[in-house]
């Protein structure tokens, strides 16, 4: 079966370090820090009092009052980023066949604040206190549904849910949808709005999150020996995908090409990474095999790198195992050091960072590396971005449950 080449022609990014793709990129290369104290609820009893947050977010700046009330933030962020990706692609929605536009935008959790508020209302008022909008604001798939309703896109519409690998899996599935000719265009990515009372409480109870309350801006410090857990983030990242032929025919700007993916499971533990990295080895190896490339071809990897004591070492060791001597030649990074861990959006937001690194020929830094962990002994592009021609780059995303996804991006060349 002949397949089509798949390119990215539109990008939307709504993140703690920039509320548009160009601002996000400027934030990345300048080492901007999106982490600050949580102020929209009282954190005095919380072990962690900070998160990477979208600056000055006011729903009514983007939605009318009724829409703002009927959309959990998880859908709001995705709709904002989708609008940007569509505009950025310069697709004329009046001219295309909207029946052939897929939407695969996922969230790892769904409408978390909605679940909280409606549970409180149930306790106060009983069954009749639960809003008829509770279920449609909660369910993860509503995000793709809302996007389709807004624009009239009637192509394949659903989402993969794989915790922190969600955004990545959805981009992989959308790539297939274009590659096999099932859709003309696809909006793909991830979104999350977990900076909520129960969100922070839950991750705190797992002891997964940094509690560096005296210095929030240095809390997300992947590969540093004093790292103490991840920093929660929020936002959305969306790609517009289409076939290379379609992009060339309409003279679209091509940011780069998606060349393949590798999906796998750890089959090890619900939250802890497999120290032997067997699942991650499979994901990265399958990704390179599907792209038809060798480890030596890879110039850059945007790592999952969450700033947890176990995860960063396990991923480093796996990269050394898969790439051998070439591992030290790769510019690695974890942009979570700047925008935090955005869970279901991470694989999408960081895929945007990966692709823009290729497009601009610059690898953004991992900030906050003050004393590099001796067990993390590779080149993480510490603290300063590096100008480098990047032909092939990978993005890693791993989710609770042991879901792994690696995407392969390539510089566009004829």
């Amino acid at each position: 079966m002949s397949t089509r080449r798949v390119v990215v022609t539109g990008i939307g990014a709504f993140t703690p370090i920039g509320k548009s793709a160009p601002d996000f990129w400027n934030g990345l290369v300048s080492g901007k820090n999106g982490v600050r104290n949580v102020e929209h609820f009282d954190t005095s009893n919380f072990a962690t009092k900070f998160a990477a947050q979208i600056e000055d977010y006011e729903p009514t700046d983007y939605f009318d009052r009724k829409e703002a009330r009927r959309l959990d933030k998880v859908a709001q962020y995705a709709l904002i980023a989708s609008e940007e990706a569509i505009k950025d692609s310069k697709l004329d929605l009046e001219k295309i066949n909207k029946d052939e536009v897929a939407v695969l935008v996922g969230t790892g959790i769904g409408g978390m604040e909605t679940f909280y508020e409606q549970s409180v209302s149930f306790h106060e008022h009983g069954p009749r206190g639960v809003s008829p909008f509770f279920i449609p604001m909660l369910i993860p798939d509503i995000v793709s549904g809302q996007i389709s309703i807004r624009y009239g896109f009637r192509g394949p519409n659903f989402c993969a849910v794989s915790a922190c690998a969600t955004g990545s899996h959805n981009i992989g599935l959308a790539y297939d949808s274009i590659r096999y000719g099932q859709s003309d265009y696809a909006l793909a990515g991830g979104t999350e709005a977990p900076v909520t009372r129960i969100g922070i409480s839950g991750f705190n109870s797992m002891k997964a999150m940094s509690t560096r309350n005296d210095s929030p801006e240095t809390a997300s410090r992947p590969f540093d020996k004093d790292r103490d857990g991840f920093v929660l983030g929020e936002g959305a990242g969306i790609f517009m995908l289409e076939s290379l032929d379609s992009a060339l025919e309409r003279g679209a700007r091509i940011y780069g090409e998606i060349k393949g993916y590798g999906f796998s499971a750890d089959a090890y533990h619900i939250t802890a990474p497999d120290p032997d990295g067997n699942g991650v080895t499979l994901a990265m190896s399958r990704a390179m095999e599907s792209a038809g490339i060798k480890p030596e071809d890879v110039d850059h990897i945007n790592m999952h790198g969450t700033s947890t004591p176990l995860g960063d070492v396990a991923e480093t060791n796996t990269i050394k195992k898969v790439f051998g001597d070439h591992a030290k030649n790769i510019n690695l990074n974890s942009t979570k050091s700047m925008h935090g861990h955005t869970l279901g959006a991470a694989g999408a937001i960081e895929s945007i960072a990966t692709l823009l690194a290729i497009y601009h020929g610059t690898v953004p830094p991992t900030i906050n590396i003050e004393n590099q962990d001796p067990e993390c002994d590779l080149n993480y592009t510490a603290n300063e971005s590096v100008v480098r021609d990047v032909k092939y780059a990978l993005n890693n995303a791993f989710g609770f449950g042991g879901h792994n996804s690696t995407l392969v991006f390539k510089k566009y060349q004829d």
């Binding site: 009318d64 009052r65 009724k66 829409e67 009330r69 008022h125 009749r128 206190g129 809003s131 008829p132 909008f133 449609p136």
Partner: protein
């Protein structure tokens, strides 16, 4: 009393349906004039129940289609 009921009902409608207060007149129909869908109307009834601490059976709710219907019904129940 009915003045009080009316202003509370209007406030709920303005808040839940995101409409302008000037549109919320007695003869305004939730669906046809104020843009409510089936879920919106269910939510309005539930909000009336919470606000006035009473229960509105489904067969009564079916007959509440306008702002005036709601004010009349609630005023009757509360008197």
């Amino acid at each position: 009393m009915s003045q009080d009921v009316e202003s509370k009902v209007k406030a709920i409608i303005v808040d839940k349906l995101g409409v302008d207060e000037s549109e919320v007149v007695a003869e305004a129909n939730f669906t046809n004039d104020l843009g409510a869908d089936s879920l919106d109307t269910v939510e309005l009834i539930m909000e009336f129940e919470k606000e006035f601490d009473l229960s509105i059976p489904d067969e009564d709710a079916e007959n509440i289609a306008t702002v005036g219907d709601a004010v009349t019904y609630l005023t009757g129940k509360l008197s």
